[in-house]
């Protein structure tokens, strides 16, 4: 059985989620040792247990060690079982992270699936819904996937209470993807989402975007989310649409952090992306590695890889007979090539 060192690289939940996705997609059983060994609270935590249980459900998998605090666990998928699923995620976990675990395997399943994911849809340290729907899924569709996601209710940390619906239709095989240039700028848009908080927070964030990025008033929008939201929340979404790709940068509003500071951090990230003249930002790079590996090929240019990305590459090499090469291109960019 394949053994994964859970403390390697990023050494956290990403190792497990990537391993689960690849295990389901390839039908390979695996064992994780030293699960999150170097973390302050080591072992399996609730959000990982949620992802594990979701993966076990769609893969009819047997698990060992699926308990809080486990340092070792075994996952043996039997067969993919597409269908209608509803997964409720507790506060600290994100619906996006659960989707990341089960979406790719379901793409390769023999029949369509329909997922309802409840919980946080805009959590710090996780891809928010808008990023998944606006940046990641379009690229998957370009690779042949038929997948649609709809936000029914936004759920912000800590209250959660959001809901997204995802429809997945099977594809025989994913097609390789080449993404080495952004192409001509098409459109840019800054949206400040505000739930159960003063609208002024959004105004102040957009004021920073206007002055620091020079975006125009018609590119700026405050979205006040209707009643029905479980709790308060705020995110700033900077969407940069180019000819070949759309990137979305997110800033998460936090209690005790000024709106200007939230906006400034997002603006910095957007400027780094724009200055590097690469099509793929750091978060999108994390997401693209697995689909490219499953497609058996592809290439993209991005900023220097994060620890998440290099960890994903390690896990991919364990499950799939593909080569992943990372080559420097210029001062602040790399080209990632996946070959069968």
């Amino acid at each position: 059985m394949l053994t994964i060192d859970g403390a390697r690289g990023e050494g956290g939940g990403q190792v497990l989620r990537s391993a689960l996705a690849l295990s389901l997609a390839t039908g390979t059983s695996f064992r994780v040792e030293r699960m999150r060994a170097g973390r302050p609270k080591p072992g399996l935590m609730r959000q990982h247990l949620t992802a594990l249980e979701a993966a076990a459900a769609i893969g009819e998998a047997d698990t060992e060690g699926a308990v809080i605090g486990a340092r070792e666990l075994v996952f043996r998928p039997r067969r993919l079982r597409p269908g209608a699923y509803r997964f409720a995620v507790g506060t600290a976990g994100s619906t996006g992270l659960v989707l990341q675990t089960i979406l790719l395997p379901l793409l390769t399943a023999p029949a369509p699936s329909s997922l309802t994911l409840e919980g946080g849809t805009h959590n710090p340290h996780a891809p928010p819904f808008d990023f998944l729907a606006g940046a990641f899924l379009p690229l998957l569709r370009r690779m042949g996937a038929r997948v649609d996601a709809r936000l029914e209710l936004a759920g912000f940390y800590p209250a959660g209470g959001g809901r997204m619906a995802v429809e997945v239709a099977p594809v025989r095989a994913l097609a390789p993807l080449a993404l080495v240039a952004r192409g001509a700028p098409r459109r840019r848009r800054a949206r400040a989402l505000v739930s159960r908080l003063p609208r002024k927070i959004g105004d102040r964030e957009l004021a920073v975007v206007r002055s620091r990025l020079g975006w125009q008033d018609d590119e700026l929008e405050v979205v006040v989310l209707a009643e029905g939201m479980a709790g308060p929340g705020n995110v700033l979404l900077l969407e940069i649409e180019s000819q070949h790709v759309t990137e979305i940068v997110t800033g998460f509003g936090e209690v005790g952090v000024r709106a200007e500071a939230v906006a400034e951090a997002a603006v910095q990230e957007a400027r780094r992306y724009l200055a590097a003249d690469v099509p793929v930002g750091p978060h999108l790079a994390d997401q693209l590695l697995l689909p490219l590996a499953l497609a058996g090929g592809g290439v993209f240019r991005t900023l220097p890889l994060s620890r998440h990305a290099s960890t994903n590459i390690d896990v991919i090499r364990a499950f799939l007979p593909v080569s992943v090469d990372v080559a420097r291109v210029g001062d602040a960019a790399v080209e990632v090539t996946v070959r069968a």
Binding site: A92, A159, V255
Partner: protein, 534 residues
């Protein structure tokens, strides 16, 4: 792994509702937000007047923790600061709750609710009415970080804590050593006895009965039991000691139970009596078999109801004391002869401990010698030591069959005190020991003729002696004297046939002795029986 079930009271102050509630730390909701604690069920106790808040909290828990099933229980508490009411309501809840400790792990949340609620939850957990562990939540270090703070699980089962367990062991060892007055005794039977007494003395307030021959240390042990209980804060009152043989007759009633002024001629002042003085302390009644029938009746009442009537008084008085009784008589026999009340005996011999005489504990002679020398040094400020030969000579004599130690440790103590007094320059020499051995022989010898009579009477009963030839009397008396202090029939046989057994290859001393005793209608069981009846 068992599922976690939290039992907790809704905190009407901390578990806030309203639009700003997500900016606050709310113990009940935030308990369900911990990444490393999965709460499968929450038994949320609440009062009817907080129903709206409770429902809002239940909804919030469902949002942040879909894994958690929440059950709301309403307790009608008119005054949540009233201990009796709160304890009663929570006790009812605990008694009615279908605990399944094999499948579920119960966590009792003690961060919310009034302090009285928290205390009652603690008490019910400590008493195992709720078979769970305590759960204490704390807010995040920065209120604004939106995190759930931290929580600590506290297991009240002290045996699960290694360092505490070793602390209790140490305390127990100290208790044992204390009961033995610090004497490092080696006799296994005696050490087991002390262990048991320590357990009982700490755990029980029922009467203790100490039996054993005179000088075996009953009185000293009773005082040590009291001091141990006092050190463990189990008694507040004094230690009151009386030898019942010294207060016979009319004075006994008054000495024990007190009298009022003018109760009898000469009763000019009222007297509280020893039982009253021992209130909340320990009363040691030595030679309890010597109490007269009236005193026995009154004592029984005092033990059962904790009340009695002083002489000449028509008002009962209360006294709550622990009784330690001492006796060297067979109280069972005294009951059969109508000299002791059987109901009183039943009341006091719940815990009976037989203290062996010195001859049954020859291994302990040496540690007791050291103890007596330490005591001497403590009293006189100078140390007395034995030279090696002197020490060996004394211990050999002390352990020999010749040394009968009729008053046991009292005799032994007197011998050591005499040698210490006569030790020139603090050194006990062979000469001093030889002097003392001669003195002891002389002390015990005059009694020998009478003692032979007494021994025979004790084992045969008075009528039988006259049927024996004088020729047999002397030999039988010596045989029985050895039997009186031997650990077993075989041990007695080895002592009696010590010379001839060296010449023989097979040693059937026990059999020879058994046959010899049988000639006089005696067997070992009878010998033991009579020994105890001394």
């Amino acid at each position: 792994m068992p599922d976690n079930v939290v039992i907790g009271m809704l905190g009407s102050t901390l578990d806030r509702g309203g639009p700003d509630r997500w900016r606050q730390w709310r113990p009940t909701v935030d308990l369900c937000r911990h990444e490393d604690l999965l709460v499968r069920r929450f038994e949320l106790l609440s009062q009817p007047r907080f129903r709206r808040l409770a429902e809002e909290i239940v909804g919030d828990i469902r949002t942040v923790s879909p894994e958690t099933e929440v059950r709301l229980h309403e307790l009608a508490l008119a005054d949540p600061w009233d201990f009796e009411q709160v304890y009663g309501a929570l006790h009812d809840f605990a008694r009615g709750y279908p605990f399944r400790p094999e499948e579920e792990s119960y966590l009792v949340h003690v961060t919310t609710g009034t302090h009285v609620v928290q205390i009652c939850l603690f008490l019910l957990t400590e008493s195992r009415d709720i078979p769970g562990r305590l759960l204490q939540a704390s807010p995040p270090r920065r209120r604004s970080d939106g995190g759930p703070g931290s929580c600590t699980i506290i297991d009240l089962d002290l045996s699960k804590y290694d360092r505490l367990a070793s602390r209790f062991q140490r305390q127990q060892r100290e208790g044992l050593s204390f009961l033995k007055s610090g004497i490092d005794t080696r006799n296994a039977g005696f050490n087991r006895l002390i262990e048991r007494i320590e357990q009982v003395a700490i755990a029980s307030t029922a009467p203790l009965l100490l039996t054993g021959p005179t000088g075996a240390g009953k009185s000293q042990l009773a005082r040590r039991v009291y001091e141990l209980k006092k050190a463990r804060r189990q008694v507040e009152g004094p230690f009151v000691e009386v030898n019942c043989a010294t207060i016979r007759g009319d004075a006994a009633m008054s000495a024990l139970f007190g009298h009022v002024r003018g109760a009898f001629t000469g009763a000019l002042q009222p007297r509280p009596g020893l039982l009253r003085t021992a209130d909340r302390g320990v009363l040691f009644l030595d030679e309890i078999g010597e109490l007269g029938p009236d005193e026995q009746a009154m004592l029984l009442r005092a033990l059962e109801d904790k009340i009695f009537l002083p002489v000449g008084s028509d008002r009962e008085v209360r006294s709550d004391f622990q009784l330690i009784a001492g006796t060297n008589r067979d109280l069972g026999q005294a009951v059969r002869h109508g000299r002791f009340r059987d109901d009183l005996l039943a009341r006091i011999n719940l815990w009976t401990f037989h203290l062996p005489g010195l001859r049954e504990r020859v291994e302990d002679l040496e540690p007791n010698l050291d103890y007596e020398l330490d005591q001497w040094a403590a009293r006189h400020g100078t140390r007395v030591t034995f030279n090696r030969e002197a020490r060996a000579a004394f211990l050999t004599f002390a352990a020999s069959a010749e040394a009968s130690w009729p008053a046991n440790f009292r005799d032994f103590n007197a011998a050591v005190v005499r040698m210490a007094t006569l030790a020139a320059g603090g050194r006990v020499t062979t000469a001093v020991v030889e002097d003392e051995i001669a003195r002891l022989r002389a002390l015990w010898a005059p009694a020998t003729a009478d003692e032979a009579e007494a021994t025979l009477r004790r084992f045969l009963g008075p009528g039988r002696i006259e049927t024996l030839d004088r020729f047999d009397r002397a030999q039988l008396a010596e045989v029985l004297r050895v039997c009186a202090s031997a650990a077993s029939l075989s041990a007695a046989g080895r002592t009696l046939f010590a010379v001839s057994r060296q010449r023989r290859t097979t040693a059937n001393d026990a059999d020879r002795l058994r046959k010899y005793l049988a000639r006089f209608g005696l067997d070992w069981a009878t010998v033991l029986d009579r020994r105890r009846a001394q």
